[in-house]
């Protein structure tokens, strides 16, 4: 009886403390959802949120009244013509071979140590749980965890942008999607909260010779166009990775895409696996907490 009482007291303290560490992140996440739902609610507010979008475009090419879960579709949530093309492509998804290849890697790779991926990841439906804050290691993305597994078992780490890495992640994501998993990022320590705060600051800081922050395009600029390309919202961004990008004609990871964004900002791209990259991903993923894992998917 005494053990149960102590356990429940310890348990509640831990719960309370855990609830405190993600307080700022929860506030940010809810404010972000409120912003995007308001922005994409109705073209009545267009003067405020889309001040330079031509009226015909707002009338003819926008879907309005978009709610939380729909944002996982990125710009296809509101871009009508884009959405039609996207749905067509998904009838014969180009990433199916990647999922198959990923499954093979998961089931058949034997490490020098004699172990396999199943030993590191007994349940493959874990795409929504990453990035994680691991004590002593800091933030680890799914790619980082896969590479840790390889290295701990005597193997060389994989390129974090594409190829085998993307294929294995595709299998994890597809399995997670099948099982109805959600993005479930946890902040349960002071260090994790600090990592989140650094990632958040990185997201909102202007950088590069173009002096653009990630937010310039994906918060304030979401729904507006650079040339003919609509900018997708931060909300829902991480759900659809790894992504089959038509521009790459291949599957790529979140790290690969962020590197491309750095180039678009005019800054030398940050390295996948770096603290900067990991903590940025941690912040981005937390913003999509609760949304369904929706990878792999197609994007332009």
């Amino acid at each position: 009886m005494k053990k149960i009482v102590i356990a429940s007291v310890v348990g509640s303290i831990a719960f309370l403390n855990g609830a405190n560490f993600n307080e700022e992140a929860e506030k940010d996440r809810k404010a972000l959802i409120a912003y995007f739902e308001k922005k994409f609610a109705d073209k009545k507010n267009a003067a405020l949120y889309f001040p330079y979008t031509p009226k015909e475009e707002l009338e003819n090419n926008f879907r309005w009244g978009i709610k939380w879960e729909e944002f996982r579709l990125g710009s296809y949530a509101f871009n009508k013509t884009g959405r039609a093309q996207y749905e067509e492509m998904n009838e014969f998804p180009p990433y199916e071979d990647n999922i198959e290849a990923g499954k093979e890697l998961y089931e058949k790779t034997k490490f020098k140590s004699g172990k396999s991926f199943k030993d590191c990841f007994p349940d493959p439906a874990i795409a929504g749980d990453y990035p994680k804050y691991i004590k002593g290691k800091g933030v680890v993305t799914l790619g980082g965890a896969i590479n840790n597994c390889l290295v701990e078992n005597g193997e060389k780490p994989w390129n974090m942008n594409k190829g085998k890495m993307a294929d294995l992640q595709a299998y994890f994501a597809a399995t997670s999607r099948e099982k109805g998993k959600k993005i479930n990022i946890v902040i349960d320590s002071k260090e994790a909260a600090e990592a989140y705060a650094r990632g958040k600051k990185a997201y909102y800081s202007q950088r590069g010779y173009l002096k653009l922050s990630c937010a310039t395009c994906h918060v304030q600029g979401a729904g507006q166009r650079v040339r003919n390309e609509y900018m997708s919202p931060l909300l829902g961004h991480v759900t659809h990775f790894p992504v089959y990008r038509l521009k790459w004609e291949a599957l790529g990871t979140l790290e690969r895409r962020v590197k491309g964004c750095n180039k678009d900002q005019g800054e030398t791209p940050h390295k996948p696996g770096s603290q900067w990259m990991n903590e940025l991903a941690y912040f981005m993923a937390y913003m999509s907490n609760g949304l369904p894992v929706d990878g792999p998917d197609i994007r332009k």
Binding site: K30, L32, A34, S213, N262, G266
Partner: protein, 139 residues
């Protein structure tokens, strides 16, 4: 004793970094990077001085495949050889490429890129919260 010396050196090095950033922030980039008034050597010298700090802080500028370290390296060569044009070499997707600029244009750019990358670190500190919904960004 060795530990104390090492610690002091490390501290000095960190102080040194903070100094480069603080120094860059105070500069008038238009004035300092003007080739006509300062001359090529001085302008590329400024770029050389500050760009390593930008690299260290992860904020080095890169434009159309060319990182500022490449602008600096090849512009310096062109200045040494007294060439009117600088051929900037870089790698894109594993392939060797090059772009040619007038030497004074390249020097101005290299200097501007180096200083501005650091100045923006300070500027971002002051403005980033303005963009956060629920914080400085009202909607």
């Amino acid at each position: 004793m060795k530990k104390i010396v090492l610690a002091a050196v490390a501290f000095g090095v960190t102080l040194g970094s903070a100094n480069l950033l603080e120094e860059a922030v105070k500069l008038d980039v238009k004035k300092v990077c003007d080739v006509k008034t300062n001359g090529l050597e001085k302008v590329i010298g400024v770029a050389e001085k500050f760009n390593p700090e930008a690299i260290k802080l992860g904020v080095e500028f890169k434009r159309l495949g060319i990182r500022n370290r490449e602008y600096i390296k090849y512009t310096k060569e062109a200045i040494k050889k007294k060439q009117k044009e600088a051929v900037i070499k870089y790698k894109e997707k594993g392939k060797e490429k090059s772009q040619t600029f007038p030497t004074d244009y390249a020097a101005w750019r290299a200097c501007t890129f180096a200083i501005r990358a650091l100045q923006q670190v300070k500027e971002a500190e002051e403005t980033w919260r303005l963009a956060v919904p629920g914080d400085g960004f009202k909607f």
